[in-house]
């Protein structure tokens, strides 16, 4: 055995835990302290009456935080609002994103420039987006003027963000404006993975564009679509920045969300115990959504 071979053999043996540890430790420690501990701590706190700053030591209170949640009308309202947001935004944004992706995926001059433009709102921080749209939604502002123009002056200017039934759809609109570019790119990546030969074969068979879309594009995009739908749903449950800045959950809690409720309970009112129980439920919802994704994706793979 020559020297080189010997050290090669050594190198395989050397790759043990002892050598790996220096590489693994920094991230492991950080993840443990700032992700895993807080995660399990939330479960523990949810059974106590811990407050953020309090001279009295926290007590174990069993399930009373969860019982309290059942009678918490605001939490119910917030949860319903989140589902309302998901029900409107997820289908609209997904279809819009797919439409944009197909549009800029055409091999025509300038399509890359348009792709860039459609993506700009996503690069813009939500805080800024919320401020710009508050300006546009002003009672005497641009949106009212446009609506008045296209209805030949039959539009009564409204204060979008202070009108109970309208405030939330208004926020949904700008959320789609901001978020659709991201999903467009994911669809675009999916579109580019579809083999060209499928379309060529379909064209020879005489299938028109619409048929190609229904029988080739949509089925081929199944995994991408599931990913887009699930990630949009999770983002919709996290809804916070825009409602906090534009309406603080008002008017009359019509834009109130679970994250706003967690923030108000845990931070404003310092009820860390109760907020933690809300957090646990919030996580279980996200987990449920993710599990559905797994199940749907697995079914897909078994078929093929």
């Amino acid at each position: 055995m020559n020297k080189a071979e010997k050290s090669r053999k050594m190198s395989y043996k050397q790759r043990g835990l002892k050598q790996a540890l220096p590489f693994l430790l920094p991230a492991s420690i950080l993840l443990f302290v700032f992700l895993i501990i807080p995660f399990f701590f939330a479960f523990y706190l949810s059974f106590t009456n811990t407050r953020l700053i309090s001279p009295i030591p926290p007590r174990f209170v069993g399930f009373s935080n969860y019982v309290r949640m059942l009678g918490d009308d605001l939490f119910g309202k917030a949860l319903l609002n989140n589902f309302y947001f998901v029900a409107i935004v997820v289908p609209l944004q997904t279809i819009f994103a797919l439409f944009l992706a197909i549009l800029v995926n055409q091999k025509i001059k300038g399509s890359t420039t348009f792709r860039t433009i459609y993506f700009l709102p996503t690069v813009t921080t939500m805080v800024v987006v919320a401020v710009i749209w508050t300006f546009l939604y002003h009672p005497e502002g641009t949106i009212n003027a446009i609506l008045s123009f296209i209805t030949f002056g039959n539009w009564e200017p409204i204060d979008f963000l202070s009108t109970e039934r309208i405030a939330f759809p208004t926020i949904m609109f700008l959320s789609i404006w901001q978020g659709v570019g991201f999903q467009m790119l994911i669809f675009l990546a999916g579109l580019q993975e579809i083999p060209e030969s499928l379309y060529e074969a379909a064209t020879i068979d005489g299938a028109n564009k619409w048929k190609q879309f229904i029988y080739i594009t949509l089925p081929q995009l199944k995994n991408t679509s599931i990913f887009v739908i699930i990630s949009t749903t999770i983002l919709a449950f996290k809804l916070f920045d825009q409602v906090y800045i534009m309406t603080s959950g008002g008017p009359n809690y019509s834009t109130y969300t679970v994250m706003l409720h967690i923030y108000n309970q845990g931070f404003r009112m310092q009820n860390v115990g109760y907020a933690s129980s809300l957090t646990v439920i919030f996580f279980l919802i996200i987990l449920g959504v993710s599990l559905i994704q797994r199940i749907l994706l697995r079914e897909e793979r078994e078929v093929f």
Partner: protein
């Protein structure tokens, strides 16, 4: 004959596509252009009076007065410094720590390696929002409230980025590393001198995703910062917006200064950007 009608179809199709793309471009660009236009309009009266007409979009006089106002009313440079410091440190530390973990998982064999990878994948599901409140309590106990480290250290390690890098390293040829090992190079030297330089594209992707997340971060700094000292741009923007009376010119100047550098950066890094977004979809 048939050939000609087909050609005409293609041309019509193209014209419709362009019309649609232009209308949509206006839809996405208009709010951003309006932000810049208002920021350059020195007359607050004009801004408010002309909001509903086309005149509002094109200011009669252009000046940078609003930008000066922002600096007079608030220490903008401080917030910018805070944001750049927080985001910059997090990304650089994140690249090192996350890639080391990914490399450790991809290149070494030890008991429990597979389980560790599974744990990382499982951790991806936990959204930050679900740990914000307990993390607030923990960092408060540590005495970290209102500081830089509370906005940096918890966000360095990230299971999603570890996983993306891990997948890259797994598919990365080992030959060069083997050669270096035979030459007697240590593991850390191999990682630092060979692996990292060859991983630039994936590192750039991860850095971009990390940047987007940290730069727009709002909920956490809202909870953990008090005064101006450690506050990032997002929370400062919201405070500025909440101060009565509302001067739209100043607000839009603030928004413009916060947005334009990022948009320019994005246009430069575009291709990498598109790739990094696409990779998150592969999960």
């Amino acid at each position: 004959m048939r050939q000609r009608s087909r050609k005409r179809m293609i041309i019509i199709n193209r014209i419709i596509s362009y019309i649609l793309m232009i209308i949509l471009a206006i839809f996405f660009l208009f709010p951003l252009l309006y932000m810049i236009s208002v920021s350059l309009n020195p007359s607050e009266i004009d801004i408010v009076n002309q909001m509903s007409s086309i005149k509002g979009f094109i200011p009669t006089t252009i000046s940078i007065e609003n930008f000066k106002d922002v600096f007079d009313r608030m220490p903008f440079q401080r917030f910018l410094f805070n944001s750049v410091l927080i985001v910059g440190t997090t990304i650089i530390a994140g690249l090192i720590v996350n890639s080391m973990m990914a490399y450790g998982l991809a290149r070494f064999s030890f008991k429990g390696r597979k389980m560790l990878v599974s744990i990382i994948v499982a951790l991806i599901i936990i959204p930050f929002e679900a740990i914000a409140i307990p993390l607030l309590l923990i960092t408060n106990k540590m005495g970290w409230l209102d500081s830089y480290q509370v906005q940096i250290i918890p966000f360095i390690a990230n299971p999603l980025y570890i996983f993306l890098l891990y997948q890259f390293f797994i598919n990365f040829p080992k030959d060069l590393e083997e050669a270096a090992l035979i030459d007697g190079a240590g593991w850390f030297k191999i990682y630092w001198k060979i692996v990292l330089p060859l991983s630039r594209p994936v590192l750039a992707s991860v850095a971009i995703l990390h940047f987007l997340m940290q730069w727009g971060s709002f909920l956490w700094p809202l909870m953990v910062t008090r005064g101006y000292t450690y506050r990032p741009l997002t929370v400062a923007m919201q405070t500025f917006f909440g101060q009565a009376p509302i001067y739209w010119g100043d607000i839009m100047a603030f928004a413009t200064m916060m947005t334009i550098p990022v948009i320019i950066l994005f246009i430069f890094l575009q291709n990498q950007f598109v790739k990094s977004v696409a990779t998150t979809g592969i999960k």
